[in-house]
């Protein structure tokens, strides 16, 4: 068994006076895994993703990502951790519209202090790998949904993160673009990238992950290995 990339131990999180968003959840994800977190709206999927990304803190329990406890990090340390160890892909891409594709992609590296030239070379590599090199100087607004999500993936991979978190990555895409992104994630995982996808799309979960965790009312209701040989 490889090193754990994510370890959640007895994690609970409650917002205000509402019911707990997560209750005593424990979970381990190893390097190279592709895991789908499934569940209906309000089941705690986004809360779990936020805790793993260091965007939120649990009320109880511990969260360790890539060997680092992230549940007690301050804002600055959390940002540095995210910069170095996590790549995030969002449902609505969250690309910065006033920056070109290249400038969007190099941003995490530049925030980390990487020289512009070196960052540009890495971005060009990624854009080429992801098949969107021709759009390097374009603005996101001119791209299709699938292309935008590829740009978002390239940006997420810029700092070679140990973990790629994707929050409903096909939620805003048409079927063809969704399949395109799904294939991309599968390819990345095949190359060794650890991926956690939060989705309510069972088809996406089946196509690009090999393990499915089902959340219901803040608890893990199922954790099953599936598609041991993912379709390429």
């Amino acid at each position: 068994m490889t090193t754990p990339v994510i370890e959640l131990r007895d994690v609970s999180r409650r917002y205000d006076e509402g019911p707990p968003a997560l209750r005593d959840v424990s979970l381990t994800v190893h390097a190279g895994e592709a895991v789908a977190i499934l569940g209906p709206s309000g089941s705690g999927k986004s809360t779990m993703l936020n805790l793993i990304a260091g965007l939120d803190r649990p009320d109880t329990g511990t969260v360790t990502v890539a060997g680092k406890r992230v549940d007690g990090l301050g804002e600055a340390a959390s940002a540095r951790f995210r910069r170095a160890g996590i790549g995030m892909v969002f449902q609505f891409f969250n690309l910065l519209d006033d920056l070109t594709v290249t400038d969007n992609v190099v941003l995490p590296a530049q925030l980390a202090g990487m020289a512009r030239g070196e960052a540009s070379r890495r971005a060009a590599e990624l854009l080429d790998t992801l098949g969107i090199a021709r759009h390097a100087r374009a603005y996101p607004g001119r791209l299709s949904g699938g292309e935008r999500q590829r740009v978002a993936v390239a940006r997420a991979l810029m700092n070679r993160p140990a973990l790629l978190l994707a929050d409903e990555p096909t939620g805003a895409l048409d079927t063809a673009s969704g399949e395109d992104v799904s294939a991309l994630l599968t390819e990345l995982n095949a190359d060794g990238q650890t991926i956690v996808v939060v989705t309510h799309d069972l088809a996406l979960a089946r196509s690009c992950t090999r393990r499915t965790i089902r959340l219901v009312d803040g608890k893990i209701a199922g954790d099953v290995a599936a598609n041991p040989e993912p379709t390429r």
């Binding site: 940002a79 995210r82 969250n94 910065l96 400038d103 941003l107």
Partner: protein, 780 residues
């Protein structure tokens, strides 16, 4: 509650940042406007206003007590053209001695039971009116008030010439706009009056002829020859207008700056706040709200916090304005009770009107949008604007947060311009204020020309009298000169003697100052021409030149009791003594006998000389001559200049605060609008410090541009106001008063402008850095 009411209530209550920003901006703008407006009102004919308020006397008549009685004078109240009168009040002029180092100057004392009345309602500025025979109230504008650090209340004066040589205690300080007395006592104290004072208001008194006609009518009803003297209000008005004229341009400049900035900030904030709600407007329209309902909802949402802000602003503005107006009144020599209600009313109406119109304009624009477009606004980023700047800054060798921030103003140019205008006004105000303060300091230096270390005799400006008990006026000046020159440590020395002379064609007398020795080292500054060098040459102050119609190069004949001397004016010197009616020349040109004020000696000691020890040694030599030396630089600064500096500081702080608030408002709106982008940055690993850097950087370009324009604008404003002050005061000011800005100082002013922008951005930057990333990402 109707649907519209609910929308308004939720808009005000739930959109707290916007509500607070509108309220805060209105508060500051109204505060600044009340202050600015009050200054403008106070600066508009302050003498006329105070004269009307205090029912000043158009004619103050003095009657000889030996030729009339109080009862006879009562009849003059019915003279033709007289609409009201006060008096007769018994008067006496006597020279009191003070209970300490004092000024043995003559005091015009009037017996007056109460300060009010139909004419010349005297206003107490400190203490109370005299109600016992051992009490006196002194004039705030005379030499007997403002004793040391206090107003003079509690000081005691002995009147050796009055029956019983009474000692009176000062119980109050009061101001008469008609300057009718140096001191007021109970009438019963003046048992042997030398005269009676009667004060008249006339139906028409706009010209000297009309006042003369009133005087003639009064004189006709009094016993023949009883009218021994009179004073027209026009003379006082002329003097007062001239005195305040120096300060009116600068107060008007500050007042206008405050008003313009306030309008700018409120307009910017309300337009931005309503514009930021465009998407909500779209949603309301999609729910069935008519465009008119939506527009009124948004106007109301802006007006509610604006009304609260206005109410607070009026109160704060009044509280702040009262002390500022008190200082202004000291400058103007007037008394006004408080902020004009008209100013408050105009400001309230103006502020709410401005908010309503701006909100209406922005809401109408939003209301006209198609519903689908309105909904899309805010969720779909605007394309195109400022991309070139984003591309450029991405390639600059700067930390990425700085680059991202620098590009921001180009994405929202209108907002950036509004923010830049706030910085511009702030930088203008700071530059203008610093320039003005420097000019006033230069003015004081030039006025005091006090490079001397030691003085003997009267004060240098000639307006004061010998100080210190035992000072004799008949000191042998030549002996003093010999003692000074024999004293080790003396580097330079000169003496002056002042004499009253008359000049053909000029009413009243002028002063000629005769110099013995070289005085050029003592800081006399020339406005034009040069210092006198040869016998027959003289320099004169601008008021003298204006009064005589002479120019540099002309000759003027001075008459000293039958002895005429003609001098050639070779320079226009900055000299404010004797109200500028002064000619300076060498004693070889005009060798006058020491006048009643005696000669004064001005000494500079050699470098390294201990002034105290020098004075001690010199006093030993001077003692047999009946005089003594004292340090020359113990005089305090001019009260007026201190007041102006204090006013300048208050007004500048106010304007800078408004400017910083303008920036803060713009950055708050911008940060709110970009909260999702900020969330993305944070999710990608931007630290709180980098977030602050990015937001603060977003105001740097605007701040630099605002400062780059504001600083020269401040210099230009200073360049316009100073000559206006010079012209309205009828003075000639030396070049040092105008040329007060140098490059390092201007660069500092530019930095100050930039600081206004940075300080204004810090709060929203911190707020952005603290915003939860997860929340920001969910925000639409």
């Amino acid at each position: 509650m109707s649907g519209l009411g609910r929308v308004v209530r939720s808009g005000v209550g739930r959109r707290r940042v916007q509500t607070v920003v509108i309220g805060l901006a209105t508060t500051m703008a109204v505060t600044a406007s009340v202050l600015g407006g009050s200054l403008l009102v106070a600066s508009a004919a302050p003498f006329d206003n105070a004269f009307a308020e205090q029912k000043g006397a158009h004619l103050a008549a003095e009657f000889d007590a030996g030729r009339t009685t109080s009862a006879q004078l009562s009849a003059t109240a019915s003279a033709s053209g007289v609409t009201a009168s006060a008096g007769p009040f018994p008067t006496v002029t006597t020279t009191p001695t003070a209970d300490g180092p004092g000024d043995p100057a003559p005091m015009s004392v009037v017996g007056r039971a109460d300060p009010g009345g139909p004419v010349d309602a005297v206003t107490l500025t400190d203490g109370a009116w005299a109600d016992a025979v051992d009490e006196i109230v002194v004039s705030a504008d005379g030499p007997f008030a403002h004793y040391r650090e206090g107003s003079g209340v509690g000081r005691r004066f002995t009147f050796p010439d009055l029956p019983g040589s009474p000692t009176l205690t000062v119980v109050g300080v009061a101001r008469s706009i008609s300057r009718t007395a140096d001191g007021w006592v109970l009438p019963s104290l003046i048992t042997a009056p030398t005269g009676y004072q009667v004060l008249y208001r006339l139906a028409t008194a706009d010209t000297a002829e009309q006042v003369d006609a009133g005087r003639a009518a009064v004189a006709a009803l009094a016993p023949e020859g009883a009218l021994s003297g009179s004073q027209s209000w026009l003379v006082l008005k002329k003097a007062a207008d001239r005195a305040v004229a120096v300060f009116v341009p600068f107060l008007v400049a500050f007042g206008l700056l405050g008003l313009v900035m306030s309008l700018l900030v409120v307009g910017n904030v309300v337009a931005g706040a309503v514009g930021a709600g465009t998407r909500r407007i779209g949603i309301l329209k999609s729910l069935g709200f008519t465009p008119a309902q939506v527009v009124w909802a948004y106007v109301a949402q802006a007006l509610i916090p604006a009304a609260v802000g206005t109410a607070i602003g009026v109160v704060v503005g009044n509280l702040l304005t009262i002390p500022v107006l008190a200082e202004t009144e000291e400058v103007y020599g007037t008394v006004t009770s408080a902020v004009s209600p008209v100013v408050a009313a105009v400001v309230i109406a103006g502020a709410l009107g401005m908010v309503a119109v701006t909100a209406l304009t922005s809401a109408l624009r939003a209301g006209r949008l198609r519903t689908v477009d309105a909904i899309a606004v805010g969720r779909t980023p605007r394309h195109g604007r400022g991309r070139w700047a984003a591309r450029l800054t991405a390639r600059l060798p700067l930390p990425r947060p700085v680059g991202l921030g620098l590009a921001r103003p180009f994405a929202r140019p209108a907002r950036a311009m509004a923010m830049g205008a706030a910085v511009l006004f702030g930088a203008t105000a700071v530059t203008f204020a610093v320039g003005l303060a420097s000019s006033l300091n230069e003015l004081q230096i030039a006025r005091d020309h006090d490079n001397a270390d030691v003085r003997i005799g009267v004060e240098g400006n000639g307006n004061a009298v010998p100080s210190g008990p035992g000072t004799r006026l008949d000191v042998d000046s030549a002996a003093v000169t010999a003692a000074v020159e024999a004293q080790p440590g003396t580097r330079a020395h000169y003496s002056t003697t002042r004499t009253r002379v008359s000049v053909a064609g000029v009413a009243g007398t002028s002063t000629i100052v005769s110099f013995s020795g070289d005085a050029t080292w003592d800081g006399y500054e020339m406005v034009a021409g040069r210092w006198f060098q040869a016998p027959g040459e003289a320099v004169a102050a601008r008021p003298f030149l204006t009064a005589t119609g002479a120019e540099v190069g002309d000759t003027v004949t001075l008459d000293d009791g039958g002895k005429s001397v003609t001098v050639r004016i070779v320079g226009d010197v900055f000299e404010m003594s004797s109200e500028g009616m002064v000619v300076l020349t060498d004693e070889a040109t005009f060798a006058a006998a020491p006048g009643p004020m005696g000669a004064s000696h001005h000494i500079a000691v050699r470098p390294g000389t201990d002034v105290t020890a020098y004075i001690g040694a010199l006093d030993t030599a001077l003692k047999p001559l009946g005089t003594s030396a004292r340090p020359a630089r113990t005089d305090g600064g001019s009260d007026t200049i201190v007041l102006i500096n204090s006013l300048t500081a208050t007004l500048t702080l106010m304007l800078v605060a408004v400017a910083a608030l303008g920036v803060l408002n713009s950055v708050v709106l911008d940060t709110r609008e970009r909260v999702r982008d900020i969330g993305v940055h944070r999710a990608l690993g931007m630290t709180p410090k980098q977030t602050i850097t990015m937001v603060v950087s977003s105001v740097l370009v605007t701040g630099v541009v605002g400062a780059a324009i504001g600083v020269p604008a401040g210099v230009a404003l200073h360049g316009a106001v100073m000559p206006a002050m010079e012209k309205s005061a009828g003075l000639g000011l030396p070049a040092s008063v105008f040329a007060v800005h140098d490059l390092p100082e201007l660069l500092l002013m530019g930095v100050a402008g930039l600081l206004i922008a940075i300080v204004g951005a810090l709060l929203p930057a911190t707020w952005a850095a603290r915003t939860s990333t997860a929340t920001a990402l969910r925000t639409e």
